[in-house]
């Protein structure tokens, strides 16, 4: 070939044994992203993640809208975890603008974000089930998710894109008899969660399939800067709700869930244990929540921050979700950087998939708790 290649591109050497598979962006085993996988027989030789198919420029968009108008579009990267992605933004903006949040609003925020974590995790678990060919585990979480979506809908008025958190509290107070309904649904949900054990988590076929695949050691988990369930399944006890409690998490009674194995099975089990823990948190928060009071601090008209910056993080369904907000003296933020767990966990993919069998690809890939839309932002 004599044609000049553009800089940065080079022709690839072709090995007869090696076959390149494009897993995605239109593949049932990938999200909106592409894994360029090279296989030698059934063994993966290399894996190169190629995200960006759903990049929407959320960070650029924030620079054109003021602090309130940023709310609806900032939750778009993870619409079924929308409370948790707004949470660090609200915390950071509150820090920048110096807003105090009422006590009741803090509890409502915790309840909403824990419900939303369960909604996200059930969705994730459903996909994990179908990735492993377990169709029942796809249908059950999707059905049980409805219970929690119903609660969130009563709370915020929307089924997935809640736009419920604002700097200074939450948009509206709980509806009447919400506490009772919430308790009823959460109790039933907890009972249902325990039924997942027999059919999915203790299923010997699943255990054989996922145990010992894609092992991430403790040191690697730290070195690669992973977060969330990936980190905690590798034996690192780091739950931001415990380590850097925001809002009222220090008052609530819960444990951070840690497993030691670091394989796909442990990575898929930590979110499940988290859901059980979320039920505990919700019940505890319902008990400790002040029965009345304001839920939203009024903002100044067109709030402006000074020349300041804030970095706040929360534990979302996919791990640490940080927002770095730089403000100047305008109503719009100067720069918002969203540091998401999916993006930080993506670095594990080439690492873990190399040398695995092709059949383990979905099990390892989805156990990283990766949400492509969020990683692309």
């Amino acid at each position: 070939m004599t044609t000049q290649l553009p800089p940065g591109m080079q022709l690839e050497k072709v090995d007869e044994r090696i076959m390149t598979l494009n897993v995605g962006p239109q593949h049932p085993g990938s999200g909106h992203m592409r894994l360029i996988i090279k296989v030698d027989g059934d063994h993966i030789v290399s894996c190169d993640p190629d995200p960006g198919y759903v990049h929407r420029g959320e960070e650029k968009m924030t620079e054109y809208r003021n602090y309130i108008q940023n709310i609806p579009h900032l939750e778009r990267p993870v619409i079924h975890d929308s409370c948790n992605i707004l949470y660090p933004y609200c915390l950071a903006v509150e820090e920048l603008l110096g807003i105090e949040v009422p006590e009741r609003a803090k509890y409502i925020r915790v309840i909403a974000s824990e419900l939303n974590r369960c909604v996200y995790t059930l969705y994730w678990l459903g996909i994990y089930g179908i990735f492993l060919g377990h169709s029942t585990m796809f249908m059950w979480p999707m059905g049980d998710r409805e219970l929690l979506i119903d609660l969130l809908e009563a709370l915020s008025g929307a089924r997935v894109t809640h736009a419920y958190f604002v700097p200074g509290g939450v948009r509206n107070d709980t509806p009447s008899n919400f506490e009772e309904k919430c308790l009823r649904h959460v109790n039933y949900f907890e009972k249902r969660l325990k039924e997942y054990e027999d059919i999915f988590y203790q299923n010997p076929v699943l255990k054989q399939r996922t145990e010992g695949t894609g092992i991430l050691s403790r040191m690697d988990a730290i070195r690669l800067g992973t977060t969330g369930s990936v980190l905690r399944s590798a034996g690192v006890d780091f739950d931001i709700r415990k380590k850097e409690p925001y809002d009222v998490y220090e008052n609530l009674d819960f444990q951070s869930q840690v497993l030691k194995e670091g394989d796909s099975y442990a990575r898929s089990r930590v979110p499940y244990l988290d859901m059980l823990e979320s039920c505990r948190i919700i019940k505890d928060a319902l008990k400790k929540m002040p029965k009345s009071g304001s839920v939203r601090t009024k903002l100044k008209p067109n709030p402006k921050g000074g020349n300041n910056e804030a970095y706040r993080r929360v534990e979302s369904g996919r791990g640490s979700l940080g927002m770095y907000v730089v403000s100047d003296s305008k109503p719009e933020p100067y720069r918002v950087k969203i540091s998401v767990g999916s993006f930080r966990n993506m670095i594990c993919m080439p690492y873990l998939l190399k040398g695995e069998k092709l059949g383990n690809m979905p099990a390892v890939y989805w156990s990283l708790n990766y949400w492509p839309v969020e990683a692309d932002r």
Binding site: L155, A163, P175, V205
Partner: protein, 165 residues
């Protein structure tokens, strides 16, 4: 041996669920019941009232044409435009009222938060599909109509599982 026990337990769990009530909501025949009459906002306290964020309702006797909803929406969805209405009101000399394009609206409800005159609320009506894009643009006259909703199904939980009914 534990493998065999696990397989039997899994099979048992699957078979047991043949007797559990089905959860599916049969949508066109059944419709979920919502809390309240839709999302509303009290500008006095600055706190909303919980409810579904469905289509808006506009009270002509309260709207002053102040465009705050349009300004709020401009950074979000650009769904609200202010249009002339025929009859003039004492408090609305310019005779302009919001017209909402539901092809663009994201139902965040921040326009309701922006309205200081109790003129714009949201309702429980969420069935807005139409055959043309033009039909999704609701004029102030259409927005003033209170929607008729028949939503009566709730999630019921008993010993044999949760069900819609």
């Amino acid at each position: 041996m534990s493998t065999v026990a696990g397989i039997i337990r899994a099979l048992n769990s699957g078979v047991k669920h043949l007797a559990v009530k089905r959860f599916t909501l049969r949508y066109p025949e059944q419709k979920l019941k919502f809390v309240g009459d839709g999302f509303q906002f009290d500008p006095q306290t600055g706190i909303g009232i919980a409810g579904l964020k469905g289509r808006h309702i506009l009270f002509h006797d309260k709207c002053t044409g102040c465009q705050l909803c349009a300004i709020a929406c401009e950074g979000i969805a650009e769904a609200i435009a202010m249009v002339k209405v025929n009859n003039t009101w004492k408090h609305n000399k310019k005779a302009i009222m919001p017209q909402i394009d539901y092809g663009k609206c994201v139902f965040c409800g921040l326009c309701v938060d922006a309205c200081p005159f109790y003129a714009l609320y949201m309702t429980n009506d969420y069935e807005l599909s139409s055959f043309t894009k033009e039909a999704l643009i609701y004029t102030p006259g259409q927005l003033a109509v209170k929607p008729k909703v028949a939503q009566d199904v709730e999630i019921k939980i008993d010993n044999r599982g949760a069900t819609h009914g």
